[in-house]
């Protein structure tokens, strides 16, 4: 199938709980096939429920249907068990880098730019509350990578994180 799998750490941060694959955001490229499969399975179940077929057949059908998704969770996705350490490391590195600006949770930081979906939630974890106060660090976050690479301007008042401006 041509479903976009969530194989990068960034795709897990953005879409991990929105679907087992990236199909919902991609507009279900295999929607027709899924519809056919679902309708077929539904009809089969209706027949099974009306016959004297043993109920374990139904359980088997249910288990078989879950296999592709479970395989994606167990192997393909970036949060699969064997890739979990790498995912945690990339998030931790980003959090640590941002925390050097201010550990939070209440911060005097001002977001002057935030055009990346990936660094936004990290900053929200670190600084869930941002006071209206002058004199805080102005943070400029760009790009869609977990690599924060924060670097301060010579004045120290503006910090750029993420992709280069």
């Amino acid at each position: 199938m041509s479903h976009p799998h969530l194989v990068t750490s960034e795709s897990i941060v953005i879409d991990g709980p929105n679907g087992v694959t990236g199909a919902p955001r991609a507009g279900f490229p295999d929607g027709g096939r899924s519809l056919g499969l679902g309708l077929g399975a539904g009809l089969l179940v209706m027949v099974l429920l009306r016959t004297r077929a043993p109920r374990w057949v139904l359980a088997l059908l249910l288990a078989g249907g879950a296999m592709p998704g479970l395989a994606a969770l167990g192997w393909l996705r970036a949060d699969a068990p064997h890739r979990r350490a790498a995912l945690a490391a990339s998030v931790t590195a980003g959090l640590d880098d941002l925390a050097r600006l201010s550990p939070g949770p209440v911060a005097r930081t001002l977001s002057i730019r935030d055009d990346g979906d990936v660094l936004f939630p990290l900053a929200r974890y670190l600084w869930p509350a941002r006071l209206d106060a002058d004199g805080g660090v102005q943070v400029d976050r760009r790009g869609s990578s977990l690599t924060t690479a924060c670097r301060a301007e010579p004045s120290g008042l503006v910090v750029h994180c993420g992709a280069a401006p």
């Binding site: 694959t21 899924s34 998704g69 209440v106 939630p121």
Partner: protein
């Protein structure tokens, strides 16, 4: 370890409160996972300050006066399965890794500043919490279970333990009926159903609140069906305080319970959880209004009826995505064509129907921004996660249904259901 200690403390507090308020034996309360919810509900009301007084009083009155069996504990709970579920929930990176998880756990950090700091921050527009106006109980609960520790690993563990608590509560609420329906097979059927929806497993380990909301919704329903009203009331307060959708789940559970029991003279007692849910929401919304905090995401507007078809299409495409849901939803929908073989099945259909109608209503009448989320693939599956526990129970009862009799075309001996015989 701190999060484990926090949950144990919460459970102990809830058990003592339950022993005092509901006059149960302390040892019985300690052996019931749902005891912690009474403590959570009362702590949540206390965190609202003086405004929470009505809610706290109403919860205690319900815990004390609503009818209940001598012991509200479920016998023979599958503790080993619950322990396995906890392991699944905890076997994850101990840092946030999903978008909203960062936001929820970030708010939990505020509670390390002091009891109720999360509420103060949410009610002060100058603190710029995102998204503004969301009910605060879930992040507060994570903060409390973390015992005020500001460590990221403690927050993740606390969140996972709370999700497990919700799963345990849902199982506790339904276990007497599940055992009654399937006997010794109930454990295997439960395992098969739990493993059949891959996206539900993602959410169990995610720190998102959608699955806990759905689990608490079926818990309210189950406690109502089994006439353990004090527990239904405690679960309803936590549910309505955790997320705006919580009230819809309480109302759906109430509708389902009335479908099971029928409208009797005691119907007023069965709506007590819904009443508590309404008090919780009204209190929070009044506080937001008084402090000038606007709720952008969950504001209601003139309905855009023309979008209903789009929503139906989106719902179908998401539910039939086999990667995320396996065949869970096709099986659940196919089971609707079967005659309800127990009164609980009839109630589940009502609860699911009411939930879907309220969900559609909220989206059709909600702000444009929410419909954009739905169309861009970031919302509908999460709404389906919220109603998945109801769908899973429908699948559970389909797997446990007696096979049709050979000669007559009817059913093998239909069990007597708690609400009396099912309608022909």
């Amino acid at each position: 370890m701190k999060a484990f200690a926090g949950l144990a403390l919460l459970h102990l507090m809830g058990s003592v409160l339950r022993a005092v308020a509901s006059r149960e034996r302390l040892v019985e309360a300690l052996r019931s996972p749902s005891s912690a919810l009474l403590a959570l509900g009362l702590l949540g009301a206390s965190a609202l300050g003086g405004a929470g007084l009505v809610l706290a009083s109403a919860l205690l009155v319900c815990a004390r006066l609503t009818p209940r069996p001598p012991s509200q504990r479920s016998e023979r709970l599958p503790w080993l399965a619950l322990a396995a579920l906890a392991v699944v929930a905890l076997a994850r990176p101990w840092v946030p890794v999903y978008w909203d998880e960062f936001v929820w756990l970030g708010k939990a950090r505020l509670e390390s500043l002091g009891f109720g700091a999360g509420v103060s921050a949410a009610l002060d527009p100058s603190w710029h919490l995102v998204p503004p106006g969301y009910p605060p109980l879930w992040p507060l609960a994570v903060g409390w279970v973390s015992l005020g520790d500001d460590g990221v690993d403690v927050h993740v563990a606390a969140s996972a333990l709370l999700a497990t608590l919700c799963a345990a509560t849902a199982l506790e609420a339904w276990w007497p009926r599940l055992e009654d329906a399937a006997g010794p097979r109930s454990r295997w059927v439960t395992a098969a159903v739990l493993a059949s929806a891959p996206l539900a497993l993602v959410h169990l380990r995610s720190g998102y609140v959608d699955l806990p909301v759905g689990l608490l919704g079926v818990a309210v329903f189950g406690f109502l069906v089994t006439e353990r009203l004090p527990l239904a009331c405690a679960a309803a307060v936590v549910l309505a305080g955790a997320k705006d959708e919580g009230l819809a789940h309480v109302l759906a559970a109430t509708a389902g319970a009335i479908a099971v029991h029928g409208v009797r003279s005691r119907v007023l007692q069965w709506v007590s959880p819904a009443l508590l849910g309404v008090i919780s929401v009204v209190t929070w919304r009044w506080l937001l209004h008084a402090r000038g905090v606007e709720v952008h995401d969950h504001a209601l507007d003139a309905p855009l009826w023309s979008w209903s078809g789009t929503f139906a299409g989106l719902l179908a495409r998401h539910a039939l995505d086999a990667w995320s849901w396996g065949l869970c939803w096709p099986v659940a929908l196919a089971s609707l064509t079967q005659r309800p073989w127990r009164a609980e099945v009839r109630g589940l259909r009502w609860a699911l129907g009411v939930n879907l109608v309220l969900m559609a209503g909220a989206l059709v009448s909600g702000p444009e921004r929410v419909r954009v989320f739905a169309e861009s693939g970031t919302l509908v599956n999460r709404l389906l996660v919220q109603v998945w526990p109801l769908g899973a129970l429908l699948v559970w009862f389909a797997l446990s249904a007696p096979r049709p009799a050979r000669a007559t075309g009817g059913h093998d001996a239909l069990p007597v259901s708690p609400g009396g015989p099912t309608a022909p």
